[in-house]
């Protein structure tokens, strides 16, 4: 009878699998361990070297930046005691030796901040970190942020003043200044060129002295998992979980299988399911998990090649946006889980202007604009110019990105209805970003996303001198080739305007200009899907690049 029962079990399981539902998850007696599924394993662990979302997610549990943005996108202190401002006197405008305006900002490290081996976090660590960060040989990925610091004055073990060579509105944010333990890392930095290979974060990753967050890393199996256990020297609220495990499973179906089989408890929104995978998962109607869709700062857009005379005409760009029904696209393809983008400023950002010019679906207006631009509809509906040349557009994006490929098809159909012949040519991500986008080499449109920070000034993306060319060795990310002195002036002005009200006015002008010029056709703001067990409370998705794990001490299990 045993074999019959087994075969019966197999058939039931297969039926259940095919049917999209599975046997109920066994209830767990106590949730003292939390296993998180992510789709990428961090390539390394040094906080300053090699930026990637998976690493930021993991390090969020073990280190804390001086400053960051919270879930409401407000700047907050984490390692410092108080956010320095002009108002509280801890930030003071100053003139640099070369006569240019700069700023002196004073921070105080939390007096109870200690590395996991009991050594206090001090200004020694700050100065050491600065030396590592600004050294061109160290391979730090955001070295410019450190090189902007002209000097550091140390007042005592906790208090220091940064002298920064430019006074910008976000002067007090040093989010990327992730402090390193001087007492452990100094030896590895003796040869700066070898630092990235000799750092203890890579050679002795479980050394407790490398971490000062609520957890510390106690086990790493590269490519597989990372185990975190509470850090006894943590200054804040005691974390609930006795053990947190991050498990990397790259294939989405396998990640889902891990969730359903109890291999992981939750899927991180920052680096887990793609949106389509989460929507498919929701169709299983599993009561044990909640799916939260957090709209974020990933801005999906169509970059036109503005050196192409057809697309250089802004009436054509406007027509194309009017001819695209983005609201229906979001509803039909993404089940309403994304938001329509109006400009590069996210509706969740304080500086968003709700009255900015919108482009609701209006095929009649699109047709009129195309007519005005000289592209008239022929007898068969095809748009032709005065010379009889048909309006044809090539659309490129990353091959294999299902969400983009579906969007691309919708765009193709929508523009075809306007009488435009749209062809698709997709490339692997590496070729697309590394060659086509980087070298400004797409003939018409490239579809991809920009990931920004709250109130991010898109200088690298829109400034005239940021157009990648052979002359500048393809540096700069203005891959559409947008050049507008008015925009340059606005970007310059926003960056240095400290008065929030005045800056708000400038941001409004920026959005007006963007919506009028359409240097790129905004499509959506992407949402990150968080799949959380119903018993897990306190996870608050941020929607920006600073992960939820920065507040992991607030996570708890509640039945």
């Amino acid at each position: 009878m045993g074999w019959r029962r087994r075969i019966g079990g197999l058939l039931v399981a297969l039926a259940v699998a095919v049917g999209g539902t599975t046997l109920p998850q066994t209830a767990r007696a106590a949730h003292d361990t939390l296993t998180i599924g992510i789709s990428q394993f961090p390539s390394n662990f040094n906080p300053l070297i090699n930026s990637m979302v998976a690493k930021a997610y993991a390090l969020g549990m073990v280190v804390r930046p001086f400053t960051t943005f919270d879930k409401d996108w407000k700047a907050v202190c984490m390692l410092c005691t108080e956010l320095p401002t002009m108002e509280n006197g801890k930030a003071v405008a100053e003139t640099q030796p070369d006569g240019k305006p700069g700023v002196a900002i004073t921070y105080t490290i939390r007096p109870d901040a200690k590395w996991g081996d009991g050594t206090p976090v001090t200004t020694d660590d700050v100065v050491f970190t600065w030396n590592v960060g600004k050294d061109p040989k160290s391979g730090v990925n955001n070295g410019e942020a450190f090189r902007r610091i002209r000097a550091i004055d140390v007042k005592d073990a906790q208090t220091f003043t940064l002298h920064v060579n430019k006074l910008t509105f976000d002067y007090n944010l040093i989010n990327d200044f992730q402090v390193l333990p001087a007492h452990l890392e100094k030896k590895a930095f003796e040869d700066p060129a070898e630092y990235k290979n000799r750092s203890l974060y890579e050679t002795d990753t479980t050394n407790p002295g490398l971490y000062y967050g609520p957890y510390r890393i106690t086990q790493v199996e590269r490519g597989q998992f990372i185990v975190f256990e509470p850090n006894p020297t943590w200054w804040g609220a005691k974390p609930h979980f006795q053990k947190v495990v991050i498990k990397a499973v790259e294939a989405t179906p396998a990640l889902e299988a891990n969730l359903l089989s109890g291999g992981v408890d939750m899927i991180a929104g920052e680096v887990g399911f793609t949106l389509d995978a989460a929507l498919a998962f929701e169709t299983r109607k599993r009561p044990e998990w909640t799916v939260i869709y957090k709209p974020g700062l990933s801005f999906e857009q169509l970059s036109p090649n503005l050196d192409n005379p057809i697309l250089a005409d802004k009436r054509v760009r406007q027509a194309l946006l009017y001819g695209l029904d983005r609201a229906t696209l979001i509803q039909q393809v993404f089940q309403g889980k994304q938001i329509v983008a109006d400009t590069m400023v996210n509706p969740l950002d304080w500086c968003y202007d709700a009255n900015v010019k919108k482009y609701p679906y209006d095929p009649a207006k699109a047709a009129a604009l195309l007519d005005e631009a000289g592209w008239k509809a022929g007898a068969d509906g095809e748009r032709l110019n005065a010379a009889g040349k048909p309006l044809a557009i090539e659309l490129m994006t990353t091959a294999g990105n299902r969400n983009r490929e579906v969007t691309e098809l919708v765009v193709q159909q929508a523009w075809k209805r306007l009488g435009i012949n749209v062809t698709l040519r997709n490339q692997p991500a590496r070729t697309f970003f590394g060659e086509t986008v980087l070298k400004h080499a797409f003939p018409d449109f490239a579809m991809f996303a920009w990931f920004s920070a709250p109130e991010n000034v898109p200088r690298e993306i829109l400034y005239s001198d940021m157009v990648p060319t052979a002359a500048n060795n393809f540096s700069g990310e203005n891959s559409g080739g947008y050049r507008n002195p008015e925009m340059d002036k606005l970007l310059d002005a926003i960056e240095v305007e400290l008065d929030k009200t005045k800056r708000g006015v400038l941001w409004k002008q920026f959005q007006e200009l963007f919506a009028e010029d359409l240097p790129m056709l905004p499509i959506t703001y992407r949402s990150d899907p968080f799949v959380l067990p119903t018993w897990l409370k306190g996870v608050e998705p941020t929607g920006h690049q600073y992960p939820t794990t920065l507040w992991i001490e607030n996570w708890r299990a509640e039945e």
Binding site: G9, L10, A13, L14, A17, L23, T35, F41, S43, N44, N46, I49, N50, S51, P136, G139, N141, N142, G143, E144, K196, N197, S199, E202, T203, Q219, E221, R222, G223, Q224, F225, V227, V245, K247, V249, E250, A251, P253, A254, A257, N258, S261, G263, L297, A429, R430, T431, F433, G434, E435, V437, F448, W450, F451, S452, A453, E460, N473, S475, E477
Partner: protein, 317 residues
């Protein structure tokens, strides 16, 4: 024979040299680099940062000087550091190599345990119902996409029945031999099923050929049973082509299971090579690919040696 062996080894070393340059060059020809990809995902990185990082990692330098620099270091035993992990290449290669060896050798052995005897039985029952049945099973397993089979196995045994873990090499924080074996079962099953049909067909075909030889008819005429003829007279001959295939398959031990490793979240050599090539990690990619190439060459030499052992008529001359 030893002279021939030495010649084969010299030939293998030359092939390795040529391939090292080809591999290095091919990686260099790929468009784009990981620094650009990193910049695209990092809103705070500036153009100056990108230029600085490219200089630090030597991205964009001419290929030949880079290759010669690598070759000099490699010949002195220094394979350098992996750009992706920041660890020495040897240290980065170690764990995936162990995982892949465990996975591939186990699946190879499991596949042979079933395929060779069943291939032999199919040959002995040629064109009879049992042969047709075994052929059907062989073709069915050959036609199954490994990716799909792996997912079905996961859905049944991990999600549905919860008998086995869905992915990984060991339980985080748990470990132990039994736990590792537990984690091996599904990927081994997927790979063994995928290769079982091929080996069964090779064995069947080789056995049928051997059974038609004159000495088999002679042995049968002398009154030897089919079983005795099959095991004592034809098996060694039939194994020669199977050994050839096994020798050539040796190289895929390290590089041919990317899909299985990805589905089962199994960090082995296939995935490592893919990531290293995709991430322009020259040092790691070239070391891993050289290892795969060397394994294929060694496999081919071992197959030659096995011929001689299996068939006394074959000699290195």
């Amino acid at each position: 024979m030893s002279r021939r062996l030495v010649l084969r080894l010299i030939q293998a070393i030359l092939v390795l040299f040529v391939l090292s340059f080809v591999v290095y060059g091919l990686i260099g020809l790929m468009p784009g680099d990981p620094i650009d990809m990193m910049a695209a995902g990092s809103p705070t990185m500036t153009a100056a940062d990108v230029a600085q990082l490219k200089a630090v990692y030597g991205v964009g330098q001419p290929l030949l000087p880079r290759y010669l620099h690598w070759l000099r270091a490699a010949l002195s035993g220094d394979l350098g550091f992996s750009r992706l992990t920041g660890l020495p290449v040897i240290r980065t290669l170690g764990p995936p190599l162990g995982h892949t060896l465990a996975l591939m050798l186990t699946s190879l052995v499991v596949a042979q345990i079933f395929a060779l005897p069943l291939g032999m039985i199919a040959a002995l029952r040629e064109r009879r119902p049992l042969d047709h049945g075994l052929n059907f099973v062989a073709f069915a397993t050959m036609s199954l996409p490994t990716f799909w089979l792996a997912l079905v196995l996961i859905m049944i045994f991990a999600v549905g029945l919860r008998w086995l873990p869905a992915s990984g090499v060991e339980t985080p924080g748990g470990g132990g031999l039994i736990d590792r074996i537990h984690h091996l079962v599904l990927p081994v099953a997927a790979l063994a099923v995928a290769s079982f049909g091929h080996y069964l067909r090779y064995m069947r075909a080789a056995m049928i050929g051997a059974l038609r030889a004159d000495w088999v008819r002679t042995a049968r005429a002398k009154g030897a049973s089919w079983t005795r003829v099959a095991i004592h007279h034809t098996l060694r001959n039939a194994l020669v082509p199977v050994v050839t295939v096994l020798g050539l398959d040796f190289g895929t031990l390290f590089s041919g299971v990317v899909v299985t490793e990805t589905v089962f979240g199994y960090p082995g050599m296939g995935k490592l090579i893919y990531d290293a090539v995709a991430g322009n990690d020259y040092n790691l990619a070239i070391a891993a690919l050289m290892l795969a190439t060397a394994t294929t060459l060694v496999g081919s030499i071992l197959a030659d040696l096995a011929y001689a052992a299996l068939d006394p008529r074959v000699r290195f001359a």
